[in-house]
Amino acid sequence: MARSALQRLLGTRRQTREVVAALLARQSSVVAIVDLQEQVLLGEPPAVDGMRHPVAHGGSLQGHVIGGESAAAVAGLLTLMLEREEEKKALAGEVLEKYRELNLLYDLADKLATAFGLEAISELILTEARRLSTAAEGALVLYAESGQLQIVTAFGQVFSAGDCLGECDDGLITLIQNGQPEVINQLSRDPRFHHRPRLGAVVCAPIRTSKRVTGALLIGQREPAGYTAADQKLLTILAAQAAPAIENALFYAQLERYNRTLEQKVEERTAELAEANREAREALAAAEAANEAKSAFLASMSHEIRTPMNAIIGMTSLLQSTNLNARQFEFTEIVRSSSDALLTLINDILDFSKIEAGRLELEMQPFDLRDCVEGALDLVATRAAEKHLDLVYVVDGRDGASNQPEEPGAERRRYQRILPPPAIVGDVTRLRQVLVNLLNNAVKFTERGEVVLAVTENRPPADLPGVDGAERHLLHFVVKDTGIGIPAERMDRLFKPFSQVDSSTTRRYGGTGLGLIISRRLVELMGGELWVESEMGRGSAFHFTVLATAAESPVHDFIHNPVPWLAGKRLLVIAGNAVNRRMLTLQAQSWGMLAMNTGNGDEALTWLRRGQHFHAMVVDSQLPWGDSLTLIRALRNLHGADALPVLLMVPMGQMPPLLENAGTTIDSIINKPIKPSQLYEALQALFTDRPVRDDHPRPGRNLFDARMAQRLPLRILLVEDNANNQKLALLVLERLGYQADLAANGLEALLALRRQPYDVVLMDVQMPEMDGLEATRRVRQERPGNRDPYIIAMTANAMSSDRDDCLLAGMDDYLSKPIRVEQLVAALWRAGGEVAMEAEAPPPPVAERSMAGVREAPVLDAQALRTLEEMVGGKEYLHQLIDTFLEEAPRLLKNLRRALEQDDPDGFRLAAHSLKSNCADYGATHLSDLCKRMEAMGRERHIQSAAALLDAAEAAYPGVSSALMAVRQSVSS
């Protein structure tokens, strides 16, 4: 039962009770304080009824104070105390209310901290609202993007989550828009609610940020109710808490949406990229295929392009040899140089496209290294001479042109500089191509000074594998010039196709822009690298390496071996160019000569004054300090009585007019760039009185020697299907004095050969009906008229396989189109040599030969013997050689016999070949001829029919050997 305020005051509140009790104790007149039920709250129960003073509070009677005078005062005091108590309670109530709120906020904050997501937060808030307000209906609404108020969460029956507030809720909507919290206990009476509202009573607390209203918390019920300000307060607090949390949740949701969109976009983009990639790959494949097709097309255009070029160049040459006036000649010169340039360009482009298509093959043949290098030099010598550049080449173990400093010990461990092998297996044409390219560039871009080509060999450490056991050599070529150099920033452009260093260079110096890259590719195919060192204004050095196996060395062994008739001879070398001097000195020394060199004329004079004595001197006609002839005269004066023969070094293509009327005797002229073979021959001419044997006649300016046919009569058959080329070739041959016959294809050729004999057949390879190879095979098989014509192939293909095919088919020689006149002439001479031999010794019927007959006819050609003697340097050496022959020849004859018995055509051919050359050397021409024919049979693989020849050879040999022994006797006696 609830107690009255008075009861409570004096009830269990000890302090109050004690205070009042103490007061009463002092007031004897107050007897007791009683409540409404007359229960004594304090004091003694009144024995006597005294005065009763009421104690009232809050408009209601609480009790009485019974007693005398003080009772009234006490009653008044109690009243006051009750008031105070009331006030205290009111205040306390407020505080407690505050406490409630605070705790609510704390709790809510705690819960919100762990709640996640808009729905969770909304649920939390609304649940608190429901719990604290005990409302039956409620909702948390938020403005959606559409602008409508959407119910996020709700309880009760009126509101459902997901719905939006509609027209019937327009009052609520307005309320919320207002942005102020409100309690409406009777909606039906509220004029703002036009439509029939769903709720009877509502407490609305808008959820807002500082800027705008984002939604609202609503609680209420369907009937009118009695919500208080406290409820409003509560809801407002909750709404205030809700706002930032919801805001965050919304942000987060938005972020998630963005994220998802982003992810989607990324996925789309990835798919697009994959698609694009695929397309790109396809496009690339297509492009590559197209590229390949293009390259293949270009490569196969070789034949088509070269054929008309052949005609242009050839015809122009012919035209130039007719009677032309100066203007006409000038015109033809332009045509010629343009067509040369065009041919170069075409070749470059075809080469480049072949390389790019991966179709360039190297022809691996053994060749002489010096020949290749010297051939390349020849092509630039004239131009170098015109520009007054020194053109020098060194093939050396110690490389004078190297600009690599040698650290003592280190370099030597890594590199053993040794002499390169004289012959290597490789593609001579391509190597020469690279050399010519680099030399051309060097000459082109150098205005003064020198161009040096140095060839050495590096032997890097053992990780270079051998090929089939054969040792590999790493050749190192350097083309070094003192030219304009290449700026550092342009170096990378050098090896890019179609770029020269800069356009001004192109304008000044010309060029296709393909040379270097082709060279680099070729070098790479040859197993090496190409690189450049250069300094602006000082010059450039183009290096490249080539990996090759050595080949059996042919003729030029004399280059590095001591030569008996030069041993001890003293040579004076005077030249301005240091490399040149060095090269000459080293070369002379390698032959056993004693050489001294100087670049200073005075020094040479000093030597002579001091009594130095020389057997010969080599002098450069272009001395930097003065006139060479004057120096020569001065030196000769000092040399005294003994002759001092002089070899004058003269730039290629120049004939110094001074020599002809100077009165100074020049004993020999050697052209720069100096080749050891030239020097050798010149010295030989000097010391042995032997006329220099001209192995390779170099045709002079006039390519068309009309008397060639007289000197070298040949019956020539031309087999060519192309009308232009027919005409061209016939005309060329006519110019040389030959009336050649024509066949348009292989079949016609065969018919022609059956009809009459020919010495030489110029056989085009690509022909209709029957091509050149087939025709050749047939010819070799048939041997029409018992003859083996000398067949020269003419073909546009440069593939090694084609060359092999030609030789296999039985061709003797090979010319590639477009045919150069010089090449044709040289080939004819070669053919002529063989044919002439055959013509000189017509094969007599074997059976008629007798030993006596052999003895009577001169067995040995005396001239040949003399030549041999001179070459080896004297009779003593000759007899050594004869001894060797007398051992070798019988062995070779035995080999022939064995090969015949075993039916071994290759062995037969080889033995015949060797014996043939040997016999020729000693002038045993008849025996040599027999061997030649046996060799031919071996080639044809018809060696059984060579049995008669072998018999004849064996019969002839004793005569030869006795003749040689007779020579030997005369030698030793």
């Binding site: 609830a2 505080v95 409630r100």
Partner: protein, 131 residues
């Protein structure tokens, strides 16, 4: 026997607030006692043996922990439910509380409803049944 609740806090207003919060219990015959320092609290506890003590943690010596320890050390007083009142924001030293035998704690400002609920619960549970 009358149920007794002792309210110990050196702040007179807090004491008054708690008293007013628990007023309704007075109607049910619960006696509300108050003390404004630890020493007095111990006297009253020994004299009156209340069932429940609301004890402010932050008081001058002896503080709430000390009072609690002393009370719980006495055999007969172990059953008295000691509810510690601590300030919000202050790291409540649970270890210390457990060590001295505190039964429950509430944070100030307290939730009046909560306080009342705890009181009812304790009193209804009877001696020995409060955990």
């Amino acid at each position: 026997m009358n149920r007794k609740i002792l309210i110990v806090d050196d702040d007179a207003h807090i004491r008054a607030l708690i008293e007013i919060t628990l007023e309704s219990l007075e109607d049910e015959g619960v006696v509300l006692l108050t003390a404004d320092n630890g020493t007095e609290a111990l006297e009253i506890i020994h004299a009156e043996r209340p069932d429940l003590v609301f004890l402010d943690a932050m008081m001058p010596e002896p503080d709430g922990f000390a009072v609690c320890r002393q009370v719980k050390q006495v055999e007969e007083c172990r059953d008295i439910v000691m509810v510690m009142l601590t300030a919000k924001g202050q790291a409540f030293d649970r270890h210390r509380a457990t060590a001295v035998g505190v039964d429950r704690y509430l944070t100030k400002p307290f939730d009046p409803d909560r306080l009342l609920a705890v009181a009812r619960e304790v009193l209804q549970a009877g001696p020995g049944e409060v955990e």
